[in-house]
Symmetry: C2
Subunit: 435 residues, 2 copies
């Protein structure tokens, strides 16, 4: 038994309730959990019935009572959104309290401000629950993989869209139909934009990138394509060609270095070869691949959302702070591994320089020689092709699907401009990434 | 930049060389790597040519010069084996130095002795590299999953046997042929017993179990079956029935609790359904599944061995110690999360109580009614069957393959005794686990 650690909770919804449940039932968990005291909990309505029993002295409707309570050592913020979350986090830090948050939106947008406030105050801000639900991924990037030169972090980091894509692939269903059912089942919000437009995944990959590469980039400039425009026929053609379609978030360093370090971050529907580890990640699960030197490639897989997994990640962060406090007391400086370090300037690379494989589909006339012309234009632009396949030929026209080898965005765009100018081509019907 | 941390290396083979490589080239890694000084390195022969350049002042053939050097804060033990590794680790601890080791054999057998010496001296012994190569799994079990009640840890934790099994499955090759080629390629030792007899996996699962459940069990009593008796026909029959065969290591709590806590640990060739996440883990890769409450199921996947991945894990541990030292100085007690905690007595459960599914194959006469008799004996013993299939019927006899539902070991053994006593059954030809 070490020193007691006081915990204050901002929010007692799904995740907050899960955290309280763990703190109030420490049996069979790490013994350090028993050293945590749930001191104060801010809720919207004190009288609402809940699954966890808390005394009236613990509950309050005023969140400032949590962040100002002298017995609270660690403030857990699980109310989400930008404000008042940001102000409460900064207030807690100003009061010398460490903060644990599951709030990817506030960290992706105000991470540097919060990190420097924490540094100045000598406290921690830990964010394991902000990405990947219960999957430990923040801590490995900060600590366990610290000996590596990280080259790439990529993965499936939004459970809602992965659920929709899994059902589209398994049932050949249309996007709109699956989304409607996901909303009925509670897997998608009434306003699904943050998920289906890729914004949630963009928040998360910008957080992972900052940890992997040591600096933030302009979150709002991150190229982001969601799945709302994805057509079932492309999922089906991909399947016939040996691929699944996943909403992939990627952060990678471009070849070479630089100061600031040029990075490519992006979120886009992407073809994944069916024997790739990410292809088997289905439903609301998440998986994150980290590639580095000398480790090679490691993958972290598990439930990407939900009360239990997210609460598990929140409690992991509280335990980390509790462990350090018990080891160092209040005096020492913060552990540089646990602290959110920003050690180098990074910048988004020119999007024309991004290199990857591409999947494109054109609507064309069903006429002899069209495939040759399309292939020729790719060749003229210096784009090397892996496969070119005609689908659905009929009097109404045909569809030509092309998968390229790895090539710069600049060359692909030049090729697409040339091809859509062809008389036989009526339009570019789809453009996805490809692993 | 924080305080400098002195590192001493015992051994400069594959892993030791990889660690030195990282320490001497800190660029592009976590900035804390630059605070590590490689002070002293014990080698067998100072004059042997090596890929890393070290001055004569750093190299020594006397390992005690490393563990006794006052400038060494962290001793890295990568010589392997029980002695002199154990004595050197204890000497380093006695000198107030923390220890990082990749040595699963010494930790599986002398873990409690080493942990209590470390506790008395107020230093760390970290072992991330002992299991799963570069995959972060030790730290997640100790820290990131600390809020959970862990129910089960299982996985593929020996790369050599997984390489052999992968080739047996892909090529229909015989065990002995694949082993011979693996030895030629350097994937298997000249004396492959530690790998193919499951001893290495048993060391590793006993380490994971101690971290997951809080106490050690008798390592030498751990039921262990390797792959050396595995026949290619069982791999083939498993494939036809929709399974892969993996050498699975399992540590799980039995239903209910108890003091000491009864655990089942085992290593055995096991059928894994082909849509299970572990089924896709091929070659020398490792994967560990952790199941707990409330997290559900998370998986950690990556290269299970090799210089780079193992060195990555060793450096992660050095960084952890360096971070804590910079935060707390030398005074504070050790962080209870990083310390190897043993917080509750555990014991191996009666093997008859272990519940799992089973795959068994009998050689029988090819006579009418044999399947009925075999099925009847299972029923008499209270063993419920999922499938019973006859293979290879000919004048020489037939083979009957049975996959059971989950059942206690006790009942299965009673059923097998009754069945092998049947006149029509000439013997039990294979008995594997099944997920």
């Amino acid at each position: 038994m070490g020193a007691r650690i006081g915990v204050g909770l901002l929010g007692l919804g799904t995740v907050g309730g899960g955290v309280a449940e763990i703190l109030l039932n420490p049996e069979e968990r790490h013994p350090l959990v028993a050293d945590l005291d749930l001191i104060r909990v801010a809720v919207r309505n004190v009288n609402r019935p809940r699954t966890v029993e808390l005394s009236d002295a613990v509950l309050t409707t005023d969140p400032s009572e949590v962040v100002n309570d002298p017995n609270v050592d660690v403030v857990v913020e699980v109310i989400g959104g930008i404000e008042p979350a940001r102000s409460l986090i900064l207030q807690a830090i100003a009061n010398g309290k460490s903060v644990v948050t599951a709030n990817k939106a506030v960290i992706a947008r105000h991470g540097p401000e919060i990190a420097s406030a924490a540094k100045a105050a000598g406290v921690y801000v830990l964010i394991e629950a902000a990405v990947g639900g219960g999957i430990p991924i923040i801590e490995p990037l900060k600590q366990s993989l610290g000996g590596n030169r990280i080259n790439r972090v990529s993965g499936i980091i939004n459970g809602t869209t992965n659920y929709i894509l899994t059902r589209m692939a398994n049932e050949g269903a249309a996007y709109a139909d699956v989304l409607a059912e996901a909303q009925r089942l509670g897997y998608a919000e009434a306003d699904p934009a943050a998920d289906v437009d890729g914004l949630d995944a963009a928040d998360k990959i910008s957080i992972l990138s900052a940890l992997a590469f040591g600096g933030t980039v302009d979150r709002d400039a991150l190229p982001t394509t969601g799945i709302s425009a994805l057509q079932g026929r492309d999922v089906e053609y991909a399947r016939q060609l040996g691929y699944g379609v996943k909403l992939l978030a990627v952060a990678e360093r471009l070849a070479g270095q630089g100061d600031p370090l040029p990075l490519s971050l992006r979120v886009q529907p992407t073809l994944v070869p069916s024997d790739h580890p990410l292809a088997g990640v289905n439903g609301v699960n998440n998986a994150i691949l980290v590639e580095g030197d000398p480790i090679g490639r490691v993958m972290f897989y598990g439930p990407g959302a939900g009360a239990g997994p997210t609460a598990s990640a929140v409690v992991a962060d509280i335990l980390n702070i509790a462990g350090i406090r018990q080891a160092s007391g209040d005096q020492g400086p913060v552990d540089p591994l646990l602290a959110a370090g920003s050690w180098r300037p990074c910048v988004l690379a020119d999007s024309g320089d991004i290199r990857q494989r591409h999947y494109v589909r054109f609507n064309t006339e069903d006429a002899p020689g069209v495939i040759g012309k399309v292939g020729g234009r790719f060749g003229d632009a210096g784009v090397s092709i892996q496969s070119i396949v005609q689908f659905n030929a009929s009097e109404a026209g045909a569809e030509i699907v092309v998968i390229t080898h790895e090539v710069s965005q600049r060359k692909v765009i030049a090729a697409l401009d040339a091809i859509t100018s062809l008389d036989e081509v009526s339009g570019l019907a789809a453009h996805l990434g490809c692993l």
